[in-house]
Symmetry: C2
Subunit: 343 residues, 2 copies
């Protein structure tokens, strides 16, 4: 499925695509995406990555687009893959799926340069291809993932992950935590922050006038009046009360039906209390075309919703749908933010 | 959507449909289901309930099928709604959605008589319409739900709830528990029991020769090597190891992808560690046509996957799809068990 581009406003500065781990599937999905016959952002995208890697991938895929170096301010030739070159890796078939200190280091540099290009207004938004925690670790970066690195680079303290698709948007209150720790990690403040950032993003980034946000309960059936847990009464309910002035905020709803209701069109986003509560339904509906959007950053950033897939890197089986959706969503957000500024 | 009947073996004794709470939507979905032009089990079903209630509902819905009393052993006339009368409630429009001691009492009696008819071989299986915990409580029954009452009536100690649909089957290790209690309630024994009952049911009840059962992890990403929780290593993994002789048993799989994989056809059932882990994906795919099957009982029992819906009882908006699916599944299970006995 090709995700149609919804926004009609042209971009006058490009979107940045970071190449991600150079020995993962990032380079492949980038070349596949640029090569789509109806690629909607040809001429409006720049890759931050390695020229020779992308040329090698183009050859391997039988592609025809020339991979050309680009510098900030250059005009983009449609029908090319413009690359802001960060390093000088050579194409080596034997390295697919084998990250090392060098690949980890350049992977981080792509992100640093990408952020810099957006901050200096040479580019409109950042779309990131997958990186790997182990690879970061090898290169000495202290971050578990993209989001934490971007927060650090931009001095952001309060941020959240939204997973967005055509049918469902979910925002997570807690992320990579053992399930047994989740109940004690919930606080009114963390939920209020999450609701506030979600409402802001739905209005400014998604162009909604009166977004409807559902908050999931923590416990089955919402605890059935504290019979199975009291976090709904102690924490989640009061947080929802405290946010009533922000708009159409409702809950806590029984988790086993709220995602169905949202996917049926009743809500614009669901706030999930923990990773799997939100990601089980999200991946069920958007396994191939989900987008990860970081809320709270000063710059627009979307990401593919999958990992480096080292097991299939260099085997030419990767699917560019999630990247396609992430690029379209970044462009939409840029366009919606402009409109919001002019309202 | 009408669920096609898959089994071709005729039933020589009827299926029992218990009417459920008489002031909920049970009577309505029964009359709607019997009245379907292509109702596949006309002539093979008996309702255990109240004749006058079902006659009143037939009138209100503009139905044409006569509601006729039935006694054990009677021949069933197709084109009728045969009812084994348990009590003598009168039809009263003012009572919809208002359970009381009397409605609670008869609701329990329908179940007792239904079980008796199956145990005495007057009927082949039990399909239950929704009851209500509050209503049970009013009438002094000590059960939180059907399943516990059926276990008590049949002297069953070890039972599990399977939710089954065309795309996904899930079996729950823990059910109505506060999320914070779930990690400490998991044990190797409870997981092994669950796997064993699931495999038995998939073979005997669903007619599968080599069922593939996936076991979900408890923690996000399966704990990532104990970084976010150790239940995978301490409890779930060893339980899976202990079940390898039973067949194609795999896991613990990351919860956010295993349900997608199962719905895509890779597994025949997923063992979920807690209520919402299993029911969020199940209801997302099978909100309208899911079936609840009780594993471990000596009799075949399926149930609709929804409640009494007091808010719409008597408003004639209820949907019989889940009942239709529950009846078809009960008939399939009866047929598959017969085949299994003859193998």
């Amino acid at each position: 499925m090709t995700i149609p581009r919804k926004s009609t406003q042209p971009l006058n500065i490009p979107l940045i695509l970071t190449m991600g781990c150079p020995v993962g599937i990032g380079p492949e999905i980038i070349i596949r995406y640029f090569s789509l016959p109806d690629c909607p952002f040809q001429g409006h995208m720049v890759v931050v990555g390695d020229v020779e890697i992308l040329r090698g991938v183009t050859r391997a895929l039988g592609g025809t687009l020339p991979v050309v170096p680009w510098s900030p301010g250059d005009t983009i030739q449609p029908g090319t893959v413009p690359v802001y070159p960060v390093s000088n890796l050579v194409y080596d078939e034997g390295r697919w799926g084998k990250p090392d200190t060098e690949t980890g280091k350049v992977m981080g540099q792509y992100i640093e340069r990408g952020v810099q290009l957006v901050e200096e207004n040479y580019a409109a938004a950042l779309v990131t291809c997958p990186i790997n925690k182990y690879s970061f670790h090898l290169a000495g970066y202290p971050f578990p993932g993209h989001t934490e690195m971007l927060a650090s680079l931009t001095g952001t303290e309060n941020y959240r992950m939204m997973m967005a698709g055509e049918k469902l948007r979910v925002v997570l209150v807690t992320i990579h935590e053992a399930l047994e720790k989740v109940p004690s990690l919930l606080s009114q403040k963390s939920i209020v922050d999450c609701i506030t950032m979600t409402i802001t993003s739905l209005k400014r980034d998604f162009g909604m006038h009166n977004p409807r946000v559902a908050i999931a309960a923590l416990n089955p059936h919402g605890g059935e009046g504290t019979m199975f847990g009291d976090q709904e009464e102690r924490i989640i309910g009061p947080a929802i009360q405290a946010c009533q002035h922000l708009g159409d905020i409702s809950g806590p709803w029984p988790p086993d039906t709220v995602f169905y209701q949202a996917a049926s069109g009743r809500y614009d986003a669901v706030i999930a209390m923990y990773h799997d509560q939100g990601l089980i339904p999200f991946k069920l509906l958007h396994f191939e075309n989900g987008v990860n959007v970081t809320l709270g950053l000063p710059l627009v950033r979307t990401s593919v919703d999958h990992g480096t897939a080292y097991d299939i890197a260099g085997r030419w089986q990767a699917d560019e749908q999630s990247l396609s959706a992430a690029v379209s969503m970044a462009a939409d957000i840029v366009s919606n933010r402009k409109k919001a500024m002019h309202r």
